[in-house]
Structure formats: C-alpha cells, structure tokens
Amino acid sequence: LCCGYWDMAALIRGLRAGRVLRGLGSVAVQGTLSPQGSNVRRAFHRTILLQLVNDSKSDTSVPPPSYHEVHTAGESSSSSAHGESSEDAQPNTSFQDQSGEHGEDYETEEQLQARILTTALEFVPQHGWTVEAIAAGAETLGLSSASTGMFNNGAGDLVLHFVTQCNAQLAETLAEQNNKVQLGQAESKKTAEFLRDAVETRLRMLIPYIDTWPQAMSILLLPHSIPDSLKHLSTMVDDIWYYAGDRSTDVNWYTRRAALTGIYNTTELVMVQDSSPDFEETWAFLDNRIKDVVNMANTAKEVQATGESMVQGLMGAAITLKNITGMNQRR
C-alpha cells in the first residue's frame, strides 16, 4: 500500500514495541477509502505517537497508534512529529519526520479534524448527525468534501467531538465556579443543588441540537462508539463529583458515580421528548431524581447507624452473659 512513505526505522521500533499491528489496521482502512475526484491529493501526515515506543502503562486514554501520512493538498505540508502529551512522555524517544520540518504555525491533523468538526456542527440541524454534515463543514473551510475520509467513524466522530466539546465547557464552568468559591466571592452550594445545577448546565448545551439528538444518542450506542462514549460519560460524571467535593476512596466512589450516571441518562431521555416551555418538565424531573438519591443516601446512613447500635446492644448483652458465667477472664 503505502510502504514507501513509512519510515523504516520507525517501523522497526514499532515492531519491537509490538504495537504496530494497530497502526497497520488503521492504515489499511485509510488506503481503501478512495478519493472521489482525481484532482484531490490525499493529505498524508505522519503522526507517530510517543506511546508506541514508550512502555508506559498510562491510565489516561491513548488513541490507537496510527500511521497517518498526510500532506495537505495545496496547503503547506505540516510534518512535525506529533506526540500525545502524557505524564510519561520522554522527549528523547520522540520521532522527527524525515523532512525535518517542525510544526510552527502549521496545523496538526488533530487540529484540522477538530476545526472541520466544529464547523460541521452548524450543519447538523440541516443534515443531521451524518457524514453530509461533515462534508458541508469541510467545504465551508475550503476543503474538498472528500476529506470526510479522514474520519473513520464518520458521524460517530462528529457526535463524539460535540460531546467532548460540551464536557470541556462544563469542566471549565465548574472550575471557574470552584475558583470563585475558593476566593470567597461566591457561596458554596449544597451537594444536591450543585449536582442539579451541573447537570442542568450540561444538558442545556444540547438545546440547539435537541431535535436531532435522538439520532446522536443512537450513534453513541453503536458498538464502535461505546468505549469512547462511556469514557466521556464517566469522565464527565467524575468531574462533576470532584467539583461537588467528593473525595471518597471507598465503595462510595462507585455508588455516587453510578447514581449520577443514572440521573444524567434518564434526564437526557426525558429531555428529548419534552415539549414544555424551556424544558420545565425536564428540570422538575431532574429535581425529583436528585431528591430520590439524597433520600436513599440518608436512609442508608440511618440503616447503618441503627445496625451499629443494634450490634453494640447485642455485644453488651453477650459480655454481660460472659461475665455472669465467669468466662470473661484474661488469658
């Protein structure tokens, strides 16, 4: 296929690290997507991720290493080695592209993809969450509509991009609020209220796309997209709880996040079929669900306290019995 463009040294290193197989898979996919017009020169950009040669077992999500070779048609070729930032990045193992050019004001492939997808969002109300929307977005930027070939998952990539954007916005908002509280400029909210506001903020970001959102939800449930969508969901829920002040390190960590995930998902479902003005019914539903969870937590605490006092009572009775029968001597 495109063996001639590959850096053989990089390939050998990749083989040693044992992860080139994933790269081969994605290149094979790239190779089979044929451009539509003969005047389109496919962009090839060599992106070699540091994780390939790094044995780190980072917990941060690592996109599968892919040998994309992209030089943009008609644009200056951006050929810097692009390393995914991770806490384990070792500069001395980073690869430089053969042509030796570093990215100064050149865009990386990821940035280009992000730009296209952001522009494509404007066309979603018109085309839905489809490859057509991406093509329309690409054309607006002056690129050929065949650059949709860059996106392996098509509509899935668009939806995931949107979700990532919303989550980043939410995290920013929560961080700002947190700052204000730290500086004493704002009151800290009670947990229930905080959760309610955070979920409402996040769900309001869907309002511009609410008509097509059921389509997006079903795309997120496709087997292809599930790992990514679950990861984004869990990161978002973790962010919300972190800023709500949760610092638990036991089973509560899991129960709280599971509860909030349930609340978020059900409220989202209510929202897509809510026709009340400004989604009042959705927020009322959200209120009730959060009340439920708070009630359950309180009940659990009460049950535990009751259980403990019962156990203490029984122990007292047992010790009294032992004393009476004389069994309670020190060995």
């Binding site: 917990d59 384990d88 390190t249 899991y254 020190r330």
Partner: protein
C-alpha cells in the same frame, strides 16, 4: 501508570489494615496484642496517607475493596486462630510480599524519572522501610521468643525450617501477587 501504582498501594494498605484487625479480633486479649496494635496503628497511618494521595490525584480506588475487606480480615483471623506464632508468621510473609512490591515500584520509578517522582519515591521508600521493620521485628519475636528450640537445635535462624511455614508463606505470596495484579487493573 502512576494511577495504577497508587491504586494498588492504597488497596494494599487497606488489606494490611484488615489483616491486623482480624488478628486483633482473635488475639486482642493476649500478650502479643500490644505489638500487633502498634503495627496496626502504623498501617492505619499509611492508609490515611494513601487516602489523601488518591483524593489529591483523583485516582479511582479499586472496585474490589469490599473483597479485600473480607479477605484481609479472614486471613488475619484465620492465622491468629493458629496461635500467636501463626499470626506472626502470616504477618512476616505478608510484609515480605509488600516490601518486595514496594521495591519493584521504587525500581520502576527510578528507571522512569527519579527527579520527577521524588516525592512519591520518598513516600514509598519510607513505607517500605516501615514494612521491613515490622518484618524484622516479628522474625526476631518468633525465632527468639516463640520457637527458640528450633534455632538451638538447628543453629539456623531462618523461619523456613519451621514445619508448615513454607506452605503458608507460598500461599500468602501467591495470594498477594494475585491481589496486586487484579487491583492494578480493576
């Protein structure tokens, strides 16, 4: 990688806590109890420190904490039912496994980037030294006070000569390795 290390260390200290709790539940009224209590208090301090670290770094705790809760308590209580020598021998084996685990973590961090991880390295070294201290204390306790006649007979100050200890040690070490492997991932 860092998150995995912190997660498994947290799980380890949690388990060690439960082991001592189990031992105290059985042997709490015997001569050996002050020693076990003292070691337990140190483990509690370790656990508190790891709770802080997990919260600071937003690390997910292992899902199997309830399992380690029960398993640790059962191991502690079970070994204590074999008598105070059994409890001490169990602790010796566990501490040896933990020290080895900390040592391998120290090696990994030193290989990666000693400057970047100085704080964490210092902490792990300190905890490893504590665990080794427990280990050595208990070896002396067993060989000199509990089973001196073995040492006198064989002139061999190794715990492995005691019948049954090798089996117990093997089981405990395999268990610890499995627990470490699972807790890193789950």
């Amino acid at each position: 990688m860092l998150h995995r290390m912190m997660r498994v260390d947290h799980a380890g200290e949690y388990g060690a806590n439960r082991i001592y709790a189990g031992q105290m539940a059985v042997l709490g009224r015997t001569q050996i109890s002050p020693l076990i209590q003292e070691m337990w208090d140190q483990e509690k301090q370790h656990l508190r420190k790891f709770n802080e670290i997990l919260a600071e770094n937003r690390v997910r705790p292992t899902l199997l904490l309830p399992l380690w809760n029960i398993a640790g308590f059962a191991l502690g209580a079970g070994s204590a039912l074999l008598g105070k020598e059994g409890a001490m021998a169990c602790t010796v084996a566990v501490e040896e496994s933990i020290s080895e685990h900390y040592n391998s973590q120290i090696r990994t961090l030193m290989e990666k980037d000693p400057e970047k991880y100085t704080e964490l390295l210092q902490l792990i070294k300190e905890f490893r030294d504590d665990e080794m201290e427990h280990h050595d204390q208990l070896i002396i306790e067993i060989l000199v006070f509990a089973l001196p006649f073995y040492v006198l007979l064989t002139h061999d100050p190794s715990l492995l000569q005691v019948p049954g200890y090798q089996l117990m040690k093997a089981i405990i070490q395999v268990g610890c390795k499995a627990a470490i492997y699972i807790s890193e991932r789950l």
